[in-house]
Symmetry: C2
Subunit: 498 residues, 2 copies
């Protein structure tokens, strides 16, 4: 096989991958935005699994291996993009082929079942129902670590699936800083008993909807290269670089929910929309990692969207639509969008406490994978951790150990990305702030200087670099949790403890 | 290859086909119902062409041929369904593989271009712009007849693509009956100058929309196994047997348009929803032909929807929503939904004149394929035919020879299906009427006896039989145009000439 033949093979496979992923994104969007007839679910499931099977076949084939090995022999003749392409395909190939096919098939069947069992178990607050599934899933995940291979901690093998290059050493350091610094703040906040006025009332949904174009335009989401939909659980999906779709859900009694979910999803979408289209050919027009994706959604949601300057421009927009805000001032709104309190449910957590929820999951997963902890002891351990870290204790499994879908889908090692990503964003903020006046840009209703920095330094490079290398290139420093911890300490001390 | 191996190969290919078709149906629906960003069109095009390429590859392969040939050797050991499956795959394979690949690729590129040229040509009323494309397309179609092979007339080879088993002999007979019987009626109608009151005014679209559930329920479309969407050009699409979707377009100034397009598309959908799901495995859960599909949409649209008993139950529904109908009686509405007049545009034609528009296209296509007629002479011939058959002459190409998209897409031989299908439906009506009182069923607001007959005799068998065999089994007679011609004569003589 010549170098060019090998390249052609990979390029063609990548073209197929795009088509498959676009198809899956549209089918998912179709179901989420307008529903599918219940009776058609089995057929829809077959279509999706056929597509994902084709995706798998494209890459886990002798032909791919031969092409990759051929190209590895030409290393010094390859462009940087070609090298990055081979690095990514190679790592994926190595992982996938390490799993015995029979095991994979059994596991897939297990996970398909366990997802629907989880829904029932949560509804019925029944951990016993879920226990055998969790046991089998964690058992598989432990074996997966061996198949994938690892140097230090077995959990490293799983973490790398969601956050390339992440490992226990790095995350221990990160979560230690989070635990030592953030946990005391939230406890002090409870002690001080300061309760800012909440945004709470009844808000016409049609009027909420009218705010969306202003909001997406301000944030920089290009509506001409996507669509906005309404769904039960908001998400962002990229059909192609010029068709990046976002969604929200409106609640009559919770105005901030739709607004901040739109900002969050717009952040994800801007990342996708701003990637360099030329990278597509190399399968690198993709996020650097899950954490990097989350860094962008949370950058816009929290750093921009929960900034005092944003409260100042948001207030008149809200006052235009809702009489409720008559008499409010900027400071009141700023405090209302930054209410921090201990809570039991991760997805409802505020900016301050969010990573404490992740810390708990990180420590439990690590102990489950190393074998220190048994699945059957999870509910008690979960409750203890919440009490220790957040000062509150779940009374039910549904608001405790059964709250997240992740484990039932076999996503072990995923949670840390959420917190690490958030911290990446603050490290970027630190660099951006050296040359750009963030508050002024927001106050001027033109955050393009900020987004342009992100575009050039984070979005355009797509998956060409590993996340830590990308961060280093953009901020001249490897991942350093200090920026995140200090940012939260400053912000919430000023808000609550001064 | 054993018999079972050969069957397994085909069954697996058929499973893939379902997944591919479902994906394409959803992607098409997505674009039609909510649009796609213009910049994403190239990527969307690649996704669709990847999917259709995979579809093609599944069937035009050595493996398929071997499986079909193997099974042909076991003919007397096969079930009827297996035989029908092989018949259908075999005929498709034979046709597809007869076309030289290089020719096919050149032709596909031509057609992709010509579709967009057609839009511009029609807009600019410029036949010269379209001429070279039509010439190349008809040239290819003539060669296609040779590749496919034919016994009598070359056009037979193309007709069979849309209406299996149809040929010039059968269609000459049909269109002769249509021309001799229908053309004089419409001319008499003009002479008599009877002009029924039209439904013409401004009709709130929200109120039009409210009529849809009543209408689809009455017709029998199962909304729990599909969805209803709004689009520019209404269509029905089957994602799977339990996800059959219909669409309409509302016009403020044309109430009947949305109502009758919903009835028409519901007819298509009922056919798809009522097929026997067991046939899916054999790739026979499909229409018997394009004409058979059209027979069902037009059965509901015209035979049910333009029946006097339907006018009687529709009127109070309209009166509930629109003051406009105050003072109308059933007879007025019946006449208003059956206005017949010569027109230039096929898709706006009424029940009486519709097949005259098709007659003209049939004769022109036949002459173009046989070589009697040259493409450059089309505009003049087209206008002459309209004058001869309908008594009116187009003044522009846009309202004449350039009005239909079909030829620019390479659909030659498609038009006759529309008229033949309509006539199939009336032949079914003739049989149904022997045991069921159609008007009473409609008047009782319960047309299930009619639909059950269609379900058992036409819908459930899917593609197991060739269309004429299906019709013969259902009506004890091969296709016979007399029922259609007599039906129109009776109906429109009573309406206009008594």
């Amino acid at each position: 096989m010549t170098k060019n033949q090998a390249l052609e093979i990979l390029f063609e496979k990548i073209e197929s991958l795009h088509a498959i992923r676009s198809s899956m994104a549209i089918i998912h969007w179709d179901a989420a935005t307008s529903g599918v007839p219940e009776k058609s679910l089995p057929s829809r499931g077959k279509t999706m699994s056929w597509l994902s099977g084709e995706q798998f076949k494209r890459f886990i084939s002798k032909e791919t291996l031969e092409a990759v090995e051929t190209l590895q022999g030409f290393d010094n003749e390859l462009s940087d993009l070609e090298k990055a392409m081979i690095r990514e395909i190679g790592r994926e190939y190595k992982k996938q082929q390490s799993v015995p096919l029979e095991e994979l098939q059994k596991y897939r069947a297990l996970v398909t079942q366990s997802e629907s069992i989880w829904e029932k178990a949560r509804e019925n607050n029944d951990f016993e129902m879920m226990l055998p599934y969790y046991e089998q899933i964690f058992d598989y995940q432990r074996r997966l670590c061996d198949w994938y291979g690892f140097t230090n901690h077995p959990y490293d093998a799983l973490l790398d699936d969601y956050e390339k290059g992440a490992n226990v050493e790095m995350l221990d350091r990160f979560f230690k800083a989070v635990g030592e610094n953030i946990s005391p703040i939230i406890k002090d906040i409870i002690k001080n008993n300061i309760q800012p006025q909440e945004v709470s009332g009844s808000f016409d949904i049609a009027k909420q909807r009218e705010l969306i174009p202003w909001l997406t335009d301000f944030i920089g989401y290009d509506r001409s290269r996507g669509k906005v939909g309404e769904v039960e659980h908001p998400f962002c999906t990229s059909v192609s670089i010029n068709d990046v779709r976002i969604t929200t859900k409106y609640h009559q009694d919770n105005l901030l929910s739709a607004l901040y979910s739109i900002i969050h999803e717009s952040g994800h979408a801007i990342y996708e929309q701003n990637m360099d289209e030329q990278l597509q050919k190399y399968n690198l027009c993709d996020c650097a990692s899950m954490g990097m994706h989350e860094s962008q959604s949370r950058f816009y949601e929290n750093i921009i969207g929960r900034n005092p300057a944003f409260a100042a421009i948001l207030l008149p927009k809200l006052q235009e639509k809702f009489d409720y805000f008559t008499g409010w001032n900027e400071d009141m709104l700023y405090r209302a969008i930054n209410i921090a309190k201990p809570s039991l449910i991760r997805i409802e957590a505020d900016e301050l406490t969010y990573s404490l929820h992740i810390l708990i999951r990180y420590e439990l997963e690590k102990a489950l994978i190393s074998g220190e902890t048994k699945v059957k002891d999870l509910p008690e351990l979960w409750a203890d951790k919440y009490e220790e870290v957040l000062g509150i204790r779940p009374k039910t499994y549904a608001e405790g150990v059964l709250q997240d879908v992740h484990w039932s889908c076999g996503y072990v090692g995923y949670f840390p990305s959420y917190a690490v990503g958030t911290a990446y964003g603050v490290q970027m903020l630190n660099t951006i702030s050296k040359t750009i006046d963030i508050n002024k840009a927001i106050g001027d209703c033109d955050i393009s200087p900020i987004t342009n920095w992100l575009k050039e330094n984070i979005h355009r490079p797509g998956a060409t670099l590993l996340p830590d290398d990308l961060l280093k290139q953009a901020t001249q420093e490897s991942f350093n949790p200090i920026y995140y911890v200090n940012y939260l300490k400053d912000k919430f001390t000023k808000l609550y403890l001064n």
